[in-house]
């Protein structure tokens, strides 16, 4: 049997982001797959050691492009733990607002993303336009569309603008109507079922072998392993929400889980709007003096939250100086994006390779950093 070497990426329409998989293909079956990361490598972990604690705020959102807010959150949370800072109550709720809106945005994009590899671009166009309306709200809150730099150690950068909560709840009402349309169009489509049902499997033992977290894990093992539930941060312990789970992790189940998570996010957001304190500070000082002189007490902490793709964490080491001593980033899709591809993309067809990447949620910038 003669093998052909095909490259899925870095510059391939089926590859989201700058990432490459070298596939050795016989006929149309992938016999060997080699992930090739590093195209987006910027040396973040080195750069962060050379920036001030404050200066890093500008740097960290850029680690994960599609979902930057989680970086701000883990960074802020880590420093708060090290410096033992109490965050104002209102800031906790605003953080949840931001995080859940970000989750909504990326999940909607992911739902539309199924249109790319399967060829139904209509859903992609609709979903991304819908996501843009969420970005508009972000812009109103934080002043930026993508990189918000809003969640800072000690709280959030500034108060919410007046009347934004009404806009958010209006958007949520709209999403309640719009999102089921996407389900009708994509997730219930018989041809989509043909493509991803009983295909692109992620069995429970593979989850543990690789260390996959997030939707992939929860739809495979049927347990509510969500850091928001298991180790509630912010005020997730004060809102009611379910963690969608399943016991059979094929592509369709993962997409359906993602779909259900959208509604849980909407549910959380509604409660956040309802329960958020109307008045109150949103930021406390982490350290005395100018921001350029911030010091964080020596120590190390692993700060992790639940991103849309799973456990996302920073391992922060401080030596008590103005700059971090070491920050290591755990990209949520590191396990499935490297070892997962090498071991479990094998045996799939080249038709499925791009769908595999898509439904497994492989995000290249957080792998490369």
């Amino acid at each position: 049997m003669k093998e052909v070497k095909l490259f899925l990426g870095p510059q391939h329409p089926g590859m989201h982001g700058n990432y490459s998989v070298h596939m050795y293909v016989d006929g149309d079956i992938i016999k060997k797959a080699r992930p090739t990361p590093g195209f987006l490598h910027r040396g973040f972990e080195k750069l962060m050691e050379r920036r001030l604690w404050m200066g890093n705020l500008a740097l960290i959102p850029r680690i994960c492009v599609v979902e930057p807010d989680i970086n701000e959150m883990v960074y802020a949370q880590g420093i708060e733990t090290l410096a033992n800072v109490e965050v104002p109550e209102k800031a906790h709720w605003i953080r949840m607002l931001i995080l859940e809106m970000a989750r909504l945005a990326i999940h909607i994009m992911g739902l539309g993303g199924i249109g790319g590899p399967t060829g139904m671009y209509t859903i992609t166009y609709w979903a991304i336009a819908q996501r843009d309306l969420i970005l508009d709200l972000f812009e109103e809150i934080t002043g930026a569309r993508v990189y918000h730099m809003y969640i800072v150690p000690g709280g959030v950068r500034k108060q919410l603008p007046v009347g934004i909560l009404d806009k958010v709840s209006k958007l949520l009402d709209e999403l309640d109507v719009k999102i089921p349309e996407y389900k009708e169009l994509a997730l219930k489509h018989p041809i989509i079922h043909k493509r991803i049902k009983d295909n692109i499997m992620l069995p429970a033992d593979v989850v543990w072998e690789l260390g996959v977290t997030g939707i992939g894990m929860r739809s495979a093992i049927g347990k509510e392993y969500d850091l928001r539930k298991v180790q509630p941060y912010a005020r997730y312990d004060q809102v009611e929400f379910d963690v969608p789970i399943a016991n059979y992790s094929d592509g369709l189940t993962r997409m359906n889980t993602k779909y259900k998570e959208i509604f849980q996010s909407i549910r959380i957001l509604r409660q956040v709007i309802e329960k958020m304190p109307k008045e109150g500070e949103v930021r406390t000082r982490v350290s005395t003096g100018s921001a350029l002189r911030w010091t964080v007490p020596a120590g190390m902490v692993y700060s992790a939250i639940e991103s849309s793709r799973g456990e996302y964490g920073y391992f922060i080491v401080s030596d008590g100086k103005e700059m971090p001593y070491r920050i290591a980033v755990r990209g949520a899709s590191f396990p499935q994006g490297l070892l997962g591809i090498e071991k479990y993309l094998v045996g799939h067809r080249i038709d499925d390779a791009s769908l595999w990447m898509d439904t497994m949620g492989v995000c290249s910038p957080e792998i490369d950093r």
Binding site: M1, K2, F7, P10, G27
Partner: protein, 607 residues
Amino acid sequence: MTLITVLITLLTLAAVTYLLSLVNSKLGAYFTIVTSLATIVMLFLIKDSIGQSYSLSFFTFKLTTVGWYFSMVMVTVYFTTAFLNPFWIKKMIYPAAYNLFFLVSLIGTIGMFFARDFITLFICWETVVWTSTFIIQMGKSRKSSYVYYVVSAIGSMVTLFAMMLVYQVSGTLEISTAFSALSGQPVLALIVFFTFILAGLSKIGIFPFHVWLPMAHGSAPHTFSPVLSGGLVKMGAFIAYLSVTAFAAYEVFANTFTIMGIPAPLYIIMVLGAISIVVGTVMAIRQDDAKKLLAYSSVANGGYILIGILLYDQIAFAGGMLHLISHALASATAFITIAIVAYRTGTTKMSELGGMIHRMPVTYTVYLIAIISMAGIPPMGGFVSKWLILQGLADRGLLFLAAAAFFGSIGSFMYVFRPLSAVFLGQLAPKYEKIKEANIMMQIPMYLLTIATLLVGVFPNVVLRVIADIQLEAGIQEIVLVGNTIVVSNGVLDALRVFIVFGYGFLIALVIFILRRKSRRVTLMDTYTSAEFIHTPELLHYSSNFYAPFERLTKKPYPVLNLYEKVSIKIKEIGHMAESLFSSSKPAITIFWIIIVFAIFFLGGVL
């Protein structure tokens, strides 16, 4: 010049060739070209005396148009293939024997096509079978020649049985009169029909006798595969022809159950033809060996020829007969090109080849034209014949045969393209960097065959006029030819005009292309690789499992082959038993027991 003179001359020439080959095998190989060329010339010389009968001792011959047509097809293939002989003769184990058998099989086919009585027919038939068997086993494997021989032997023995049966009833061996005695006996006629046509089916490779084709074609010497596929397979078509003309199946079975106006026995054979189209196509798509692929395509095309001839009417019959020549030309060409590639590279496995076009552009072009014809795309010969067959089927409303024909003709795009892509196009492996184009001597047959294919495609009426004569001879309505146009009841075709308009379109495209800026030549490895770097051409050549998704759909256990295997295992077991009886350490005991058994048997008879 009479037919007898021709045959005797040829036999003499064959003998001369043999003697020459003993001295110098290459010279003998060149002489095969001369001899086959002489055959063509002589066949043209005797064309005027069509209708006469000859006899030579107990052989009797009759010069018929159909025989002449078949002979011409056959000789063309032999003649063109003979050009390859000088280059391969060194590789044969018995070069002299090869040359002799090559010519004797040619003479055998000619004798068979002109045979007037069963004995002549059978002896000539057997000559061809035996000589080709010996040639095939000079190739890659011996097993394939056994299979070839066994399938042929089954066919010829059963046919011999049919001839005996007919002789018993009619008392004569002359083909045309002997069959007429059967008209009153439907059951006997049925037996004779099926047994007689079996030889044809086995030869043309109709399902379920197609197994020998890929084995024999695939492993025969490269110089003989074109002859096998282009020529010898068509002997089966001649038997099919006899079964509808001399045997007059339509009249004999006129009173039996008919399906869409076709007597059931004939329809059954046609369905077999349809099945072989489907099976041949599906199997051809799955092959990795280029020669086996072409062999399976012969199976599929054999189905077309069989259906065409058996339909025995104005349109489809002409199509079948025309397909005979267009497929013979295309198939021989394709086999010759593959032979040349194999000559230069030493392999016919498609997954090991690639990029040959950059070293062998002429061979590529010739192969391209051959496959265009084989796939039935205008303006080549295969299109006209397929068009006639399809029109004929549409005229009669034979839905299921047509469905198979459509599948075969569209499926043929898939399998003919595979060698084109895997062998000739794609990346050139470094190990083939120094390959040279076929030499002039090898190019001659390619040019000849290509021109012939093109001529049949553009001026099909030249051939169709001969076929009209055959139809006249056979007593059916002739195909209507007006100038360059073929007129059938449900359509007209002017192949020349199609060709001209195609040329016109091509010209417009060419003009636009030339008017635009000249392209920059880049190397083959400078290609889109998703911006990654690769330096191994072999890894960029997509050739193995080319139609993997389709192949998976058709990957069912292959029932006929399994059945044959089971039978062959049983036969082997019996053989082993017999062997163990006789080759045991004490044969005397075995013989003693046999004597006892026989003694009891005979005594029992007496008592």
